[in-house]
Symmetry: C2
Subunit: 420 residues, 2 copies
């Protein structure tokens, strides 16, 4: 069984001027990895025929699988289909299935069907058509000199539908795929270098087919063991053994031994304890509630939030004392203590977090510079607080505040209820 | 003046297994574009020496500028620096400035400095060092056969600091850069194909150095004119002329003639009218508040939100009637009407939006399938509602709900107060 490598090619001028962040590649890479296909490289090029052709050649040179997204729209700037047609030496013909699909979609949306849309049903006569259940542009599967090329739309939910229902199963059938195993843990409260020294002996003794990666992110470090092999159960057992040793070495700093974000860790702890939570957010402006509710099933433990961006909302909905605001300012320990108890009372949850800070770029002062944040985690019986000072931009300061506030809540839950 | 092309290379196994979404490339592409450098391609490879070298060769073949991020950490999996050192034929030496920087950072953080960290101050003796004011890994500027290569850390805020303060100014000095001009507008309520037919004659008459792109996104279509030329003022004038014609052609569907998201459009309208807003969010779980507050200055018009994920919060904080909830269900016109008036009363704002829906994957029924959303926009005098049915995944359904709810508010503001 040989290793099967993939190249991901994303096509579109919007990727080269930075108008769009490429989220497709990460999703595809994850899906391929789970299926035992290793992504070798990712290439993004504009809507330019020579650059697309060069990327196809690059892909074919280093991979057995080349997945292409983008450039399949009905408008003049989208040229992926004619370029592929020429590259694989075919001619465009109408595909009956794709045509029906386009007609059905327009009928359902009650929109007039124009010539331009009918063109979307044309495909090179040298490909196998992959029907698109979520949009008008069909996918196309080509083979050339033993390399599989699949072209899909760039619209994320259309690509995901095709990958899940057609492309991944077909690739698994087409290739004898090796086993790929990953295990990831998350630490908090320790730097990357210090961690590396702590596990140095263990890391150096790792067998060659096991690889360790450090992924520092938002004040916490993720450690990931990756392994490629033949026999999946044996490989899993081997990785599991090493992963257990690693967990013991970093036990003092371990947050979770799963590949999951902090809000999932807290969510699982709440579920296990049949407890609920809410948030009172000033500087994060709803971001903590958003990341919690981005996970399906969060309604089991998350009841709601008060985003008190303005002090009037802190007073009116959270009962923060006007005198405290005047004396200590909105970014203060006293205010987040009142916010957390206020939102517990207003929503009737078991736990809550509250944050108030200055995310930047404006709003800082000498006494409270940009990045100053007060956070509190509270239950009916107890409130704990933390003062942080981040030095980054608005977005990163917001993300760091959310992760650290949820970590504070994690610590409070463990303190109050060590086991579920 | 020749066109100057850039290749962006991002290095790291985490990019190939999809653990991390690459946001650096989009930011760098935007910054380069503004400076008059065209991004030709983006390549992502893992922490593998041959693949890194191949990417460098690819970059040098098609570009005068190669910007590299990632793989500069202090741990064993990061190999970018030794690979670059060998590629450019140098040897590693300690850089005094970088060493001071590392020492200062560790002193400030009060962390013990270990051997591994001191290694970060080593650089190839054939590069110009770019000091890192936001982290420990220095940047490196190389030149070879007329091509500039710059290696920077993958941590976004470190890379951004280096780009802004060192790399972009140095590139502008090194190359005679052409002018690049973009103008973008946003339409709502019309499909991409229909739009294309509407502007077909105008598009076909565009001069060859002006390019039009269609960027459909979340039920709305962005149209972008791009132009490259010598004389910036003349080019701007030419693009402006075409852009004005385009605006007239799509006037009935025009949301904004700036490259800005919907929440900025609404924010600007509120600022102009010295008005304020709040949100009452069920299914979006704080996402609307989050995107509004992700923009600095939003505290001028955004006062706060009630995230009423649970019905108890809808009743308790928004005054939604228990009988209405029982009769119509949480996802209903009657409930979002009460939510929007409830949050207006609770926060004292001039305007508000409210949403309630089923984002998926669970929670749907025959009567109200996944993707069903009711939304309301309200002022003291008026409430308007809209019923939508999205067919996508949780994330996209949430984004679509936010954009369409804010568009509904935009329409209400225009109705009540056509000009500022």
């Amino acid at each position: 069984m040989e290793k099967v490598y993939a190249t991901l090619i994303t096509i579109g001028d919007e990727l080269l001027i930075g108008q769009v962040i490429d989220t497709n590649s990460a999703w595809m890479a994850q899906a391929l990895n789970e299926a035992g296909i290793l992504v070798r490289q990712r290439i993004s090029v504009g809507d330019m025929a020579p650059d697309i052709v060069h990327a196809l050649e690059e892909g074919a040179a280093g991979s057995q699988v080349v997945l292409i997204t983008g450039g399949l729209g009905p408008t003049a700037d989208d040229i992926t289909k004619p370029v592929l047609c020429e590259y694989f030496g075919g001619k465009l013909v109408v595909d009956a299935g794709a045509l029906n699909n386009v007609k059905e979609i327009f009928a359902r949306l009650n929109r007039p069907l124009i010539e331009r849309n009918l063109k979307q049903a044309e495909v090179p006569d040298v490909c196998t058509v992959i029907q698109n259940s979520r949009g008008t542009a069909p996918g196309m599967w080509f083979e050339k000199d033993g390399v599989v090329f699949v072209s899909m739309p760039g619209v994320p939910h259309e690509m995901k539908g095709m990958m899940t229902h057609h492309v991944l199963p077909a690739l698994q059938e087409r290739f004898a795929l090796p086993a790929i195993v990953h295990r990831t843990l998350l630490t908090a409260g320790v730097g990357e270098s210090f961690l590396a020294d702590m596990i140095q002996d263990w890391e150096q003794a790792l067998p060659a087919h096991l690889k360790l990666a450090y992924l520092p992110n938002y004040g916490m470090v993720r450690l990931r063991i990756s392994a490629v092999g033949q026999n999946k159960p044996a490989l899993e057992e081997e990785v599991e053994l090493q992963f257990r040793q690693l967990q013991q070495l970093v036990a003092n700093y371990l947050v979770t031994n799963k590949d999951e974000p902090m809000e999932k860790v807290v969510g699982r702890m709440l579920l296990e304890r049949k407890a609920t939570m809410s948030t009172a957010e000033s500087c994060t402006g709803g971001y903590i509630a958003h990341i919690i509710t981005s996970h399906a099933g969060s309604s089991e433990y998350f009841l709601g939030s008060v985003v008190s961006y303005d002090n009037r909302v802190k007073e009116g909905l959270l009962g923060v004392d006007a005198g405290t605001l005047a004396t200590h300012g909105a970014v203060s320990e006293a205010v987040v203590q009142q916010m957390v108890q206020g939102v517990l009372a207003a929503t009737g949850t078991d736990y809550a977090v509250a944050v108030s800070g200055i995310m930047g770029p404006g709003g800082g002062s000498n006494e409270k510079p940009v990045g100053t944040v007060w956070m509190a985690a509270g239950s009916r019986n107890k409130t704990i607080t933390q003062h942080m000072h981040f030095r980054f931009d608005r977005r990163r300061n917001t993300e760091l505040t959310a992760t650290h506030a949820l970590n504070l809540l994690r610590r409070l839950i463990l303190e109050e209820s060590p086991t579920a």
